[in-house]
Symmetry: C2
Subunit: 136 residues, 2 copies
């Protein structure tokens, strides 16, 4: 349960890399982080669409962060790669629930979701990336 997909782990590693690198191409990140480059390409695409990254095409192109890492909560990162967290179908979709609104399991799942959400919102990319090792 709760296996965090490789995709998300890759995304985080790549973002951390970009915090330190300012700008980098897919290929260079893939090599540095040991991530299959074609796969990374797709992942960075998603991060871009989610507004976390800005890209530059063509020669000397690459990706860079769209905003300061202190302004990027991890919830956004996870959201970008996985989409909405949907623990259990009947939770989002009250109609599906057998027991209706008062359903206790429902409250249980909602509580779990909220525990996870709160945590993810409380941590920023900057904290995960650690002190900026500016190239001195």
């Amino acid at each position: 349960m709760f296996q965090v997909p490789t995709k998300t782990q890759y995304a985080i590693r790549a973002l951390v890399h970009l915090v330190h690198a300012k700008s980098a191409s897919v290929a260079s990140i893939a090599e540095a982080e040991h991530i299959p480059s074609k796969y990374l390409e797709a992942i960075l695409g998603k991060l871009k669409n989610a507004g976390l990254l800005i890209s530059e095409r063509g020669r000397n192109g690459g990706y860079r962060l769209a905003k300061d890492p202190t302004l990027i909560p991890m919830s956004e990162v996870v959201q970008a790669t996985e989409g909405e967290i949907r623990l259990v179908e009947c939770v989002d979709n009250a109609a599906v629930c057998i027991l209706g609104e008062g359903c206790l399991p429902r409250h249980f799942w909602l509580g779990l979701k909220s525990a996870v959400d709160l945590y993810l919102e409380s941590v920023t990319l900057a904290e995960i990336a650690g002190p900026e090792t500016s190239s001195t």
Copy 2:
């Protein structure tokens, strides 16, 4: 991300049923809860092996809770059906981690795991099952 497996949802429904029913056969639970009975059979087997249920074979046999539902934290239930929560491989397995002990992503994942664990430990089966609707 974080899809809770059907298996676990079934397990919870079955346990809630047993809180109210005291004792029941796989077939009767399966019917009442609309769960494929052969599948349920396997799930209850796991719950039994985990020490949550007690079984009686043969005619008039069935399953019942091994202990009072107020003494069963949901963490045990989840653990029983899914095994250890292992969010990310490198977290349990420090050797796998590229960055070693100080790895910040590692702390992030550990924090998430702990948020989830704390929540699961804080809720008991009794709370999910609600007031005992003893057959009056």
